[in-house]
Amino acid sequence: MEIAFYLAALVAIVATFRVITHTNAVHALLYLIISLLAVAVVFYSLGAPFAAALEVIVYAGAIMVLFVFVVMMLNLGSQTADQERRWLAPRIWVGPSIMAALLLLVLVFSFWHGGGIGTISGEELSAREVGTRMFGPYLLAVELAAMLLLAALIAASHIGRNDEPQLERDMNESVQRAPAGNDEGRQS
């Protein structure tokens, strides 16, 4: 299981790197999907098949589809690719990279000395155990997440709301667009 963990982790890092450096938005999203799938394998190798399955279903299967959907609708051309290329100039990414490298250094050192490293046992955590934990000690978190989702749902339905009924509006539009002759024909 350890080999699977390290391989999947490597894939996840390389794919995420390509997400940032790729100039074509849809291809970058494809790499992000690969990265999420790799993270699912990481979960699986750590003995959490339920989390792995949910990672694929929720992130790769639902959220990323919406991302791709939106990027598809934006119809980005070659201009955006050029813009992305310009934004990848060294003077822009060097600063944040140094800071991120520092953070990584701190993390590696703390792992090295703190003894926080567990070994990968490959012991499987069943969905039932996850469920009893979620609705036991972590019930508050679940409830809060549910509230947040409900708020998001209400907001989305408010923004997407039409005051005019759909069918009536469609008919009005078609009447306005139709030439006069057609209109008379419909009334008779």
Partner: protein
């Protein structure tokens, strides 16, 4: 090495051979369905169908395959090459991988996963990308409209496809497909989970974009939608993939609601095949008999009727399971 004893090697070899047999059976039944469906459509719509090649038109498949293999494999110059090639592979592979979890008989089946059902949902989720990337990479208006319709429809119907099966999971207490089949020894889940069955059937038809939910590839409106630019075997992958999807959903319906291999007198494999063929016929009959509804009606039906129905079904099932436990 001690773990490489002959027993282990033998078990591995038999397991691999079984998997290959199941894989071939799935692909071949998908391929044969292309012809069987047209013959059945002919029968039900009172016309002949393809009956010229070989006895009863059985050679039609070979003729189709020869044609599809020798066609020019054309990629439009304006297409996004990488995604264009990737899309049919995803379409085919994701559906085929789902056969992994289906227990065919007590001894036959590829993998016995504890997260069985969730694996199917994961693969169904990945399958959306095939349509999405296919439509985007083609750089064609019809393909794009088809892809948008398909992804919106699939996302909406996957929401309650998952929920419709949670009743079964609550009753069995497991995602494992073998546990689910064994839980149906006395009573098939189609009886206590009738609404779950109905909604899963509808969602299954919608997710495989079959008539009457084939708006993404409506020939009359958008000229076959997302695979309009595909030719040769790339189109073949989409095409056979759709039929593999039908076989998959039928096999799942059999396993989840109709007791899988359980049945009197006949051996398990025969029962499994009979039940699966019954659902495949149902798919074909639906295409023969039902007209295609308007696209917005399809979406409204999904969100306003099926989703509340599955939620109520889940609530009632949960209450009953709690009371009887």
């Amino acid at each position: 090495m001690s773990w490489m004893s002959t027993d282990v090697l033998l078990a591995i070899t038999i397991g691999v051979l079984k998997s290959i047999v199941i894989l071939l059976a799935a692909v071949l039944s998908g391929a044969f369905l292309t012809v069987i469906e047209r013959r059945l459509l002919g029968l039900w719509q009172d016309r002949h169908g393809p009956n010229r090649v070989g006895p009863f038109g059985a050679g039609q498949l070979i003729a189709d395959m020869i044609k599809i293999f020798f066609k020019e494999d054309w990629i439009p110059p304006f297409a996004d090459r990488k995604l264009f090639v990737l899309a049919p592979a995803i379409a085919f592979a994701s559906l085929l991988l789902s056969f992994l979890i289906i227990p065919i008989t007590p001894t036959w089946g590829v993998a016995d996963l504890n997260i069985g059902l969730l694996f199917f949902f994961a693969m169904a989720g990945i399958n959306v990308y095939a349509v999405l990337f296919g439509g985007y990479a083609s750089a064609n208006k019809y393909a794009l409209i088809g892809a948008m319709r398909a992804s919106a429809q699939t996302l909406s119907y996957e929401v309650f496809m998952g929920l419709s099966l949670m009743g079964i999971v609550a009753m069995t207490g497991s995602f494992n497909m073998r546990d689910i089949v064994n839980g149906q020894e006395g009573l098939w889940y189609i009886v206590p989970q009738f609404f779950g069955f109905l909604t899963f059937l509808i969602a299954g038809v919608a997710v495989t974009h079959r008539a009457p939910f084939d708006q993404p590839e409506a020939e009359q409106e958008i000229a076959d939608g997302y695979h309009v630019e595909y030719s040769s075997m790339k189109f073949g992958m989409f095409f056979i993939g759709e039929y593999v999807g039908i076989v998959l959903i039928s096999a799942l319906l059999t396993t989840l609601f109709m007791g899988g291999w359980h049945g009197p007198l006949l051996p398990p494999i025969v029962w499994f095949l009979l039940k699966t063929s019954f659902f495949i016929m149902l798919f074909v009959l639906a295409r023969a008999a039902l007209p295609r509804p308007r696209y917005d009606r399809v979406m409204q039906f999904g969100w306003k009727f099926c989703l509340p129905l599955t939620l109520i079904n889940l609530l009632v099932t949960g209450a009953v399971v709690l009371l009887t436990a």
